[in-house]
């Protein structure tokens, strides 16, 4: 079905536009078709990914250890962390919701950060070549990563809705900002990572023959 050009854009002294996939010559700065800036995959870009990734790892700590929500019910103040909220939901018997929150706010960020870190490692180390499926993990986490934000929305909706005078008030905790910032930084880190860096090394080992994986 699909006709191969036997080479990659890099081996043909070309570069690919990340917006419309058109092939541009190396000298052009802006894509001939969509006018967006066309960049060549370069190891320097990894610095950006690593910086965003480090920020999100640092933010992960306050996001999980500080309370995400403070409830004031008849003068009683309870603070709940993300994981505490999952446990409460589980003990109340709302298993599907507990699973959704656990997957979205506990599991997905960890998997995403680990997948990105592994990819950065493979892209940096000149000796090791990644023949694995890490790019598939990244693609999946990029799709799922946004759903981590659900916890933040739950908190903001609860805060907005529950203002029943002196009986009960709900306030967002310190972790809410840290958590939101963590999700945003992991998203930016994932977007700034260029998978071509990994494929370039595979290409150089297989002499540019794309049929060899």
């Amino acid at each position: 079905m699909v006709d191969f050009y036997p080479h990659t854009a890099t081996s043909q002294q070309k570069k690919v536009c990340s917006m419309c996939f058109r092939v541009n010559s190396l000298e052009t700065n802006y894509c001939y078709h969509c006018d967006s800036k066309v960049l060549v995959a370069h190891k320097r870009a990894l610095q950006k990914t690593l910086a965003w990734l480090t920020t999100s790892i640092i933010l992960y700590i306050p996001a999980n250890f500080y309370p995400i929500m403070n409830t004031l019910y008849l003068g009683d103040r309870t603070e709940s962390t993300i994981f505490g909220g999952v446990l409460t939901l589980w003990s109340h018997g709302s298993y599907p919701i507990a699973i959704i929150i656990f997957v979205a706010s506990v599991m997905v960020p960890v998997v995403k950060i680990m997948a990105l870190a592994t990819l950065c490692y493979f892209a940096m180390d000149s000796k090791r070549v990644d023949y694995g499926n890490h790019h598939k993990i990244l693609r999946m986490t990029e799709l799922v990563g946004r759903w981590s934000m659900v916890d933040i929305y739950v908190v903001t909706v609860l805060v907005a809705l529950i203002q029943m005078g002196n009986i009960m008030t709900i306030n967002p905790g310190e972790a809410s900002i840290a958590f939101a910032a963590m999700v945003v930084t992991t998203m930016i880190a994932a977007m700034s990572f260029d998978p071509k860096l990994i494929w370039q090394k595979i290409d150089s080992q297989s002499n540019g023959d794309p049929s060899v994986k």
Partner: protein, 210 residues
Amino acid sequence: MLKDTPIACHECDLILKLPLMTRDTKAACPRCGFVFTRYFVQAKSKLLAFSLSALIFFALSFYFPFLNFSAQGSVKSVTLLQSLMSLGSDTYLILVVFMLITTVIVPLLMLIGMIYVLISTYTQINLPQVKPILRGIFHLKPWNMTEIFLLGILVSMVKIQSLAQVQFGFSFYAFTLYVVSMALTRLYLDRYQCWNWIKDKQKVSLVAHG
């Protein structure tokens, strides 16, 4: 049958030519599996229909009560705007700003931009700034989190079940339909196809200018 323009894989850099697509097929990179495009029949009309309906449902979801509460004998109904405003007075203003950007501002900009681009491609009139707007739409796409917001609303409803009785107002259903239309708009929003429409338009204008 292959399209003339060679393209390269966004992920693994492989140069390819995509075949002419037929109904309900997708084109993926043979090496890394990156999906270039999914072909939907009449994607243009579907996009226009769903982005217009999303705009209408979005407007509707602001006018009517969103939720009706009854707790400890008192009944209260809130509109969407009221609940957002009550957040605004809080110290956690940045959360509110973030929520407004991801659920109101970004989707609105995307929808209006999409309709503008579609009008331009439909009528074959060269409206100004179509390319920057289309680029902007794709840059904004990942920050559109309306469907996540809906899940957040549903989860928080379950959480307060024990405290108050909540009934969904008319606005809630309008908002749900808005989220569904927005999700469908996002589904039909295909980079490869959208940029091909731009090319078609240029071809026509070239012919027209001799």
